[in-house]
């Protein structure tokens, strides 16, 4: 029988939405319910949120002051200890999960699977390789715990609710002191989360600078969309790294993606290929994104974007 543990990603106050997608992906493998581990300094509110997600059978709360802020080396020792009770230990394929899961696996002498996009059976998974240009079907050794990260955009979050018990747990595990948190610098921008937004507006090199960035921010605000950036826009210093969309940034799968002045390097297209509708606004008809998009408007973004915002405003007014 499979026993599935999902490691909750959170900031000690709120559960990260990606955790829900992982639970949604795994519930089919856990008829008796998915266990969710909440490692935190306090974590009661996070545990309560987790207990309400459909498909969750039990929440295990490991409260220790060392657990906040999250350090992979500190969490991995505890996750590895918990893992002995499970056939599957999973986390979202975010920078959090990618940092944590392989280290926890190593502590149990195991390897891990990265970025699962489909589950064909308890030990049969699919995952992208070569920047998403190929998908491999992989069978894991059923004799060992499967450690894996799950791509959140490939699975839906549970729509139903549960009322799972919360169990406070103490593990007698020595935690390493060799890694220390110094600080976190974020943009703290408001608006929808890039990885779960239904509409995403991404700006590229064509933005040319802050004036172009302001244009797409205006468009995103009008659409209720999240703002993203191509690598070129981040490298130029116009937009922060956490907004980068693509193979090495965030993978997005919104219903609508608008690429504004984005050339569409393969590494970027990899990050958007699961979007519902891809729209490209670019003055260069030969840009790679124009071949990949569902709808292409060849136009100067500095006239097309204000015109688009104007049309949307007028619709709203009528």
């Amino acid at each position: 029988m499979t026993r599935v543990l999902v490691i909750a990603e959170h900031d000690d106050a709120e559960l990260a939405p990606a955790t829900l997608n992982v639970i949604g992906a795994l519930r089919a493998l856990a008829p008796q319910g998915v266990d969710v581990a909440v490692l935190a300094a306090g974590g009661e509110s996070v545990a309560r949120s987790a207990a309400r997600i459909g498909g969750v059978g039990r929440v295990r709360l490991l409260a220790r002051v060392e657990n906040s802020p999250c350090l992979a080396a500190v969490w991995a020792s505890q996750v590895a200890e918990l893992a002995s009770e499970y056939t599957h230990v999973l986390a979202p394929a975010t920078t959090f999960g990618k940092d944590l899961i392989p280290r926890a696996a190593a502590l149990r002498g195991a390897g891990a699977l990265s970025d699962i996009v489909a589950i064909d059976g308890p030990y049969r998974f699919r995952r992208p390789v070569y920047a998403g240009n190929a998908i491999v079907t992989v069978e894991a050794d059923p004799e060992r715990t499967v450690f894996a990260t799950v791509r959140p955009t490939a699975f839906s979050a549970p729509a139903d609710e549960a009322d799972a018990p919360i169990e406070a747990l103490t593990l007698d595990v020595e935690l390493p002191a060799h890694t220390r948190f110094v600080e976190r610098r974020g943009d703290h921008r408001t608006g929808p989360d890039l990885q779960t937004a239904s509409t995403v507006v991404v700006g590229g090199r064509g933005l040319g600078g802050p004036a172009g960035v302001a244009l797409i921010e205006g468009l995103a605000a009008r659409l209720g969309a999240a703002v993203g950036a191509s690598r070129a826009a981040v490298d130029s210093g116009w937009m922060p790294n956490e907004l980068q969309v693509g193979q090495t940034g965030k993978i997005v799968a919104p219903g609508l993606y608008l690429g504004i002045g984005v050339s569409g390097a393969i590494q970027h297209l990899t990050g958007i290929r699961d979007a519902g509708t891809i729209v490209a606004i670019n003055k260069d008809a030969q840009a790679p994104i124009c071949a990949a998009a569902d709808i292409v408007l060849v136009a100067d973004l500095f006239t097309a974007v204000p015109e688009l915002v104007d049309r949307l405003d007028r619709r709203g007014a009528s």
């Binding site: 940092d99 392989p102 891990a112 990265s114 050794d141 390493p176 060799h178 290929r273 049309r311």
Partner: protein, 250 residues
């Protein structure tokens, strides 16, 4: 001797469009241009800069694979690595096997820092550094965009989903390189020619006491779902009309 160990992987060049074998057995590699994995190249560049700033005495490049891997090790020597080690191995290796091998080399070389790329652009695993740090029982900092060395610590800025996170690690430690850590230098032809004559030490997995294992069996390799061909609109009005029809805009 203050030594940095850098792990390198030979991969299909990032500019090559990969083609799948029709029988689902993998990607076509015959006659395809091979290169140093870009993230590994960034890791090596960082190690060289640390040595050039006199914070390290020696940079040792290590790779696993058949004899062809020596091309990439020679590139590393041409860039400025002091020594190169190839661990003889055939076929696709899982990150756990690679990490165990690197650990065996680390136990011999006693580096104060191990630098790796955050992931290889072929298997896209993003695991080896984390597994290595776990097996070694030492700190890890993945997705590094800035590295500052202290006497007995290293401070690393990491590119995470929420922004930048800064960690301080006790040495020795494992750090994996992200894109914005640096821009690797160009290698000039005379350096490449000179590197051709330099020795490369060869080790074996057996010699290191490593039994390659396969926990994950690849059943088949298939193309990703394809998208239908797009359309071209001539005006913003036309774009708005289509998005409206599809119910995609407010």
């Amino acid at each position: 001797m203050r030594r940095i160990l850098v792990g390198l992987k030979r991969v299909i060049d990032h500019g090559v469009r990969v083609h799948l074998r029709p029988d689902g057995s993998g990607v076509v590699t015959d006659g395809v241009k091979m290169s140093l994995n870009p993230f590994c190249e960034i890791a090596l560049e960082e190690a060289l800069r640390i040595r050039e700033a006199s914070r390290a005495d020696e940079v040792v490049a290590v790779s696993l694979g058949p004899a062809e891997v020596e091309q990439q090790l020679r590139q590393a020597l041409a860039m400025g690595a002091d020594r190169a080690i190839r661990i003889e191995a055939e076929g696709a290796l899982e990150p756990l096997t690679v990490a165990r091998s690197l650990l065996a080399v680390a136990e011999r070389e006693q580096p104060f820092l191990i630098l790796l790329g955050k992931q290889a652009i072929d298997s896209d695993n993003n695991q080896t550094g984390q597994i290595l740090a776990g097996l070694w029982g030492r700190p890890q900092a993945t997705f590094a965009s800035e590295i500052r060395l202290g006497e007995s610590t290293v401070t690393v800025a990491r590119e995470i989903d929420q922004g930048i996170e800064v960690l301080e690690l006790d040495l020795p430690a494992v750090v994996t390189a992200d894109l914005r850590l640096n821009e690797p230098r160009y290698v000039k032809l005379p350096q490449l020619l000179k590197a051709k004559k330099l020795p490369i030490e060869t080790l074996t997995l057996t010699g290191l006491g490593i039994e390659p294992e396969s926990q994950f069996r690849v059943i088949e390799t298939t193309p990703p779902p394809s998208r239908t061909a797009g359309i071209r609109v001539e005006s913003v009005d036309e774009l708005v009309a289509i998005l409206d029809e599809r119910g995609l805009i407010p």
